[in-house]
């Protein structure tokens, strides 16, 4: 382990400082250019729109911070949609990460036929959107859906999955976990990267499989877990298409996600200025959470080469 590259005191510039800098920027050059060309322009534009009354089809008109003021003082759906999104994000983070990790461990067993099983588990995400919205509505249907069929089959009461304001959001959480194969794939790849001999060493030391999981697998996998948690959070905060296709935000606005709110404000109410202000508010919220996650990560994310602060 080499920790010597991160000394406590700031060293004098190394003789290779300029060479390193140029070389570094050559490596990250593509993304730097990409951000400058494709991303920052549109972001600045939307930041400007957020200070205007911009109805898309007529020119933006500067109104200062009025959109932000309206957002916090006059929009009753702002809080509702933010609350839906936060509740969804928390549920999907806990359930999604745990289920995906368990499945990934299962799929990483070195047994014959595993590649077929992996494919089976990845399948839900390869269904095109248009089709999957129909399929999930069918699965969740309260009258004839297979899920309720199973529940009544084993003597449990039926659940009005998408039809009740109490369960609709949770139904979408279940669906998201079910289609969480992206997370699973990344966990599987992460598990593959753990050197075999660490497990062997733990086995020789007499650790059982549960202990090996918590003392070897989890720490070694922590960079991957960290990746999935951060990106999972960002994705959860931006989730809305299935809600749009399956529940249209209802019933009683119980699945009215923040980004669905933005979408409707922008493309149905044609209030792009207002929608941009909403987008920047959620941007700041996501950014704060991400920075916190990075700060906390120092305590639990283990890098084989610990040179990252």
């Amino acid at each position: 382990m080499t920790t010597s590259t991160a000394p406590a005191l700031k060293p004098k510039r190394s003789p290779h400082f300029w060479r390193n800098t140029i070389e570094g920027y050559l490596f990250i050059g593509p993304v730097v250019l990409g951000l400058l060309i494709w991303t920052f322009g549109p972001m600045v534009a939307s930041a400007y729109y957020s200070l205007t009354d911009y109805r898309i089809i007529s020119a933006p008109e500067f109104i200062g911070f009025q959109n932000y003021i309206d957002l916090f003082t006059r929009d009753r759906l702002f809080i509702q949609s933010l609350s839906v999104t936060v509740r969804y994000a928390i549920m999907v983070m806990f359930l999604g990460q745990i289920v995906s990790l368990l499945i990934a461990v299962l799929l990483s067993q070195k047994l014959p036929g595993m590649s077929i099983f992996r494919t089976f588990f990845y399948l839900p995400i390869i269904v095109p959107f248009v089709a999957s919205a129909l399929l999930w509505r069918y699965l969740f249907n309260k009258d004839y859906g297979p899920i309720n069929g199973l529940l009544t089959g084993i003597g449990l009461p039926e659940i009005n999955w998408l039809g009740s304001p109490h369960s609709a959001l949770f139904s979408l959480v279940i669906m998201s976990v079910w289609t969480g194969a992206v997370t699973t794939i990344i966990y599987v790849a992460g598990l593959q990267q753990i050197p075999e001999e660490l497990h062997d060493a733990a086995k020789i030391d007499g650790g059982n499989s549960v202990q090996r999981f918590f003392y070897v697998t989890i720490p070694m996998l922590s960079p991957t877990i960290f990746f999935n948690v951060v990106t999972g959070f960002i994705a959860a905060f931006q989730f809305f298409v299935p809600a749009f296709l399956m529940t249209e935000g209802g019933p009683a606005n119980s699945t009215y996600f923040y980004n669905l709110n933005i979408y409707e404000k922008a493309f149905q109410w044609l209030e792009m200025g207002y929608a941009s202000a909403m987008a920047w508010v959620i941007f700041v919220i996501i950014m704060i959470i991400t920075i916190l996650l990075f700060r906390i990560s120092n305590r639990w994310v283990y890098y084989e080469s610990a040179n990252e602060s």
């Binding site: 099983f117 390869i126 004839y144 020789i204």
Partner: protein, 299 residues
């Protein structure tokens, strides 16, 4: 805790324990397979329904309550869907493949290059730029859609594949950079230090050591990229206007009419669209499974 610190078992007990371990292993294998089979059924359910629905008649789809398996299997949905009015699925398949082939090398090469820079090189502004990369995906895309569209319009790229291909060559997406960076930071640093002493440049280290070592991650990036393009709807919808330039995912929406939506055909084409992805997944598994295990790396 105590088990970990136990001393290695003595030789006399070895054979006894070995038998017990083998029995335990068989039980464990049985459990694993049982869990896998149950899980597979659960996870495959939507797909099974999709395939089943693709064989139902239009009347059966429009009946109540919906059936699970078709009362009457109708394979003719497939040719009918494939040759539906104003569709050109062979062309759209080709278009989708062109976009994938044009995008994939850009994604894999530039995202891993940038990830290496962020994970392994020391230079001022590195953390700032990494923060900006991540921040770029935090703004809800609905509000940058129009400025981006206007940008591509001014570049004269509307109704071409460029807006879908070129940006991928500039870093290959923030998530991919982040993912690969995480993987690269796990690779023991002794490896590149040794290589640097041998006079290797960063470029060589990246290409000779990091690219091969991160194969599971690169294969994952490839899989997810292909999948994303294959099913991408919004990008093609906004940028491609003439039907000759449509992609498969866009073509799927041609069955949504004003009064008549052909869900039978949507399911048939969806099933056809899923097949190559299944093949790709099975094929790619071979490359994911071998990672550090066979690459000969010893801590």
């Amino acid at each position: 805790m105590s088990a970990v610190s136990q001393p290695t078992p003595s030789i006399q007990l070895y054979s006894q324990q070995n038998q017990a371990a083998r029995r335990k292993k068989q039980v464990g294998m049985g459990t694993v397979y049982a869990l896998l089979i149950i899980g597979s059924v659960i996870f495959m359910l939507p797909l099974i329904i999709m395939v089943a629905t693709s064989f139902k008649s239009f009347n059966e789809i429009n009946s109540y309550p919906p059936t699970f398996f078709p009362r009457e299997w109708l394979p003719s949905n497939y040719p009918d869907a494939w040759s539906y009015q104003n569709t050109n699925f062979p062309r759209w398949t080709l278009n989708t493949l062109i976009i994938i082939l044009g995008t994939l090398p850009g994604v894999v090469l530039t995202s891993s290059l940038c990830a290496y820079g962020f994970a392994r090189m020391q230079f001022p502004g590195r953390r700032l730029w990494f923060g900006l990369v991540l921040a770029s995906i935090m703004l809800p895309p609905q509000v940058t859609l129009i400025p981006l569209y206007i940008l591509f319009f001014q570049l004269g790229w509307l109704n071409t594949f460029w807006p879908l291909i070129i940006p991928a060559w500039f870093g290959g997406g923030a998530l991919n950079i982040f993912l690969l960076r995480q993987f690269y930071m796990q690779i023991p640093k002794e490896l590149d230090e040794a290589a640097i002493i041998d006079g290797a440049t960063h470029l060589t280290i990246w290409w000779r050591i990091y690219m091969p070592l991160s194969r599971p991650a690169l294969v994952s990036v490839t899989l997810l990229t292909v999948l994303q393009i294959w099913n991408d709807f919004l990008g093609p919808l906004i940028y491609l206007t003439s039907p000759d330039n449509y992609t498969l995912a866009l073509g799927l929406n041609m069955f949504q009419g004003l009064f008549i939506t052909r869900n039978d055909y949507i399911m048939a084409i969806s099933t056809l669209m899923v097949l190559p992805m299944v093949v790709m997944f099975i094929f790619a598994q071979r490359y994911i499974v071998q990672g550090f295990v066979t690459s000969g790396l010893k801590g």
